[in-house]
């Protein structure tokens, strides 16, 4: 039997937090979700379609938000956690407004932040009007705002640039953000659906189509939608007199430098850890990966456990993951949490 007086605090009410809460509540535990934003749902709330099926993110979000039929969690929004202090086998969770929660276990699911594409100065994000990020584009898809160049015209030539802030020593991130490749394919198809006559180019260094049906979507982008993929990183973007963009790259397959003009450039910005994740992790004595994500105890067996007993991690706060991987990771974390709590219960009985 579970002890429903045991209290689990989940920091972050995004997909990982909601999914983990659903399982833990069903198992009978007392769960509190602390969410810093006004609503739970994380970036799913902003995202329009999910790859590879172009599923509405809203549908997944609804399933997650309505998953609390029995023993619903306590959800506190607009709530910012500043530290987690291990104390006598329990955990003191301190909030920015001075409130304190005592928890038997803490699950950190603080998610990711989009890489600040301004740091890739050579691409001119926030300087050139027609340079946007994949995040900006997804918001436009979501809100149904018409996609236009700064001059108010439909874009006729669009470039997607992969690996912006990922696998890039210059920007300080050597890891792969994993989801940008398939996002680039998905958004290229999305643009082709919106602008059938537009020419669309994806500039990549290599495409990592690791997930189910990812490769199929990549082939579909080429065969059905006529999206062109050019293997080569973009060296710089500059603005032409008419506001269009001059892009320089190298086509590494043909071994030639390229100079092309585009009406719109979309930067596929990678994932970086939320800054507050670092603060919380440090206060709780957790370890970090080389990319400053939270590190699990073991990269094969104990990915969701940390070096501080009773503190668990799940989702994109520990590494870049897709939505489906995030949900799987959250479920894995709940198994570890339940095992840990049961083990402590049994210990105390003996």
């Amino acid at each position: 039997m579970t002890n429903n007086s045991q209290h689990i605090v989940i920091i972050g009410g995004g997909p990982a937090g909601l999914e983990a809460a659903s399982s833990l509540c069903t198992a009978g535990y007392r769960v509190t979700i602390l969410e810093k934003e006004q609503q739970t749902g994380g970036k799913l709330r902003i995202w329009d379609k999910l790859f590879p099926e172009f599923r509405d993110s809203e549908g997944v979000l609804n399933l997650l938000s309505n998953g609390f039929k029995i023993n619903p969690p306590k959800i506190l929004t607009n709530t910012e956690v500043v530290s987690v202090i291990p104390e006598n086998g329990k955990h003191r969770v301190n909030l920015s407004d001075g409130q304190v929660f005592q928890a038997d276990t803490v699950l950190i699911t603080t998610g990711f932040k989009l890489f600040n594409a301004e740091k890739k100065e050579e691409y001119g994000y926030q300087i050139y009007d027609n340079v946007i990020t994949s995040f900006d584009l997804e918001k436009k898809f979501k809100t149904g705002h018409s996609i236009r160049t700064a001059a108010g015209l439909p874009p006729r030539r669009i470039a997607f640039i992969h690996c912006v802030g990922s696998r890039d020593i210059k920007s300080g991130n050597i890891y792969c953000s994993r989801t940008c490749c398939i996002t680039g394919v998905k958004q290229a198809i999305g643009m082709k659906r919106t602008f059938p006559d537009a020419e669309i180019f994806n500039f990549y260094m290599d495409l990592r189509m690791f997930g189910q049906n990812f490769e199929e979507l990549y082939i579909e982008a080429q065969q059905k939608w006529g999206v062109t993929f050019i293997r080569g990183r973009v060296s710089e973007i500059a603005e032409n007199k008419d506001g269009s963009l001059q892009l320089k790259a190298e086509d590494t397959l043909s071994g030639r430098p390229l100079k092309m003009s585009f009406d719109l450039v979309v930067l596929l910005a990678g994932m970086v850890p939320e800054p507050r994740t670092g603060e919380i992790g440090k206060s709780a004595g957790l370890a970090f990966t080389s990319g400053n994500f939270l590190a699990g105890l073991d990269s094969h067996i104990c990915q969701n456990e940390t070096q501080t007993p009773g503190i668990f991690i799940a989702g994109t706060c520990r590494e870049p993951l897709s939505v489906s991987e995030t949900l799987t990771d959250a479920r894995a974390a709940t198994v570890k949490i339940i095992s840990w709590l049961r083990k402590n219960e049994l210990k105390s009985k003996n």
């Binding site: 301004e118 100065e121 050579e122 001119g124 994000y125 926030q126 300087i127 050139y128 009007d129 710089e236 500059a238 603005e239 032409n240 007199k241 001059q246």
Partner: protein, 355 residues
Amino acid sequence: METEGKKRVWEYYQKEIADDHYFYVRSCIRQTFFPGSETTFLKILRDDLNKDVFEDARHTTCTGIGYHTDIVPLETTMTVIARHFALMTEAGYVNIIPSCVTSFGLYTEVLDTWKHFPEIEAKIRDYLWRATKREFKIPENLVHTSDIIYKFRNQIKNLSKVSLINKTTGLPLKIVEHIGCHYSKMFPQSGVGGAEFPAVLTGMIEAWGGSVIDYPERRHCCGFGFRQYLVKANRGYSVSNSKKKFESMQPYQPDFMVANCPGCSMFLDRWQYTIAELEGITYDQNGTGIPVLTYEEMAGLVMGYSPWDIGLQMHQVSVEPLLDKLGIEYNKEEKYLGSHGQNIGEPQKPMFLIV
């Protein structure tokens, strides 16, 4: 274009620029190409801004051109630069200001190398001692002389007699700014504003009333590229780089260009003559070419100095159309008079480029 975005980049690339007491090291080639520039710099600093600037006649080349053409080994270059630091130390200065962008880039590279590999610094100290019996301290502040003019741009504005405004239209002049590659492309943190959107010349231009043209090939090298020019067979590469820039800036109809590097000022100016004579084209509307100034010359004009005293007669592309736009009065008869009033000789007229 979002200027706020640029300002955020500029804020990130701020550097410390000493306020006074400079050990000045001249450029080898500027004294030949644009001899008035360094004189103007010293005059502005010493006479107008009352700054202490010291130079030592024993200062030599930094070997930059030899180093970048692979004929001088790095250890030799480092030892020569160490000697410059020794001259600075012996003179009691801690702030060193090279006039040449190649030297500035090389000094920066040497200091960075020593920071990461102290054993190399120790070796160079040993070489210097054995060769010259000199010792040196690492400079506390290394900046390029364009950084100094940037730092005092507002004081210069307060003393100025001329603004970078078209006297006839009342509109800001449209100015192409060009940064030497070795100013910040190797070490973006060492340049004001970084490498992608440098602010050092932009800051001067905007402070003095002009407007900056952001054209597509703004970041492109002028084409000097050391071996591209120094090996005669490669000079076509050098010209074609400049040509690429001229073609890119032409639609914006620039009133003039300004550069902070000896090579850039030279080639952006001289290659206009070469292209005009080879192809019969110029990139302005009147066939006279686009004037190219060094930043000291630009500052000198703003300060109201005589265009012939600051050496503008040494330019291939005539500066008179620019002087007319600025409303600067000049006597064409005095253009080729030397400092003692003697005629220094007039260059031959090109076939195509109007001078």
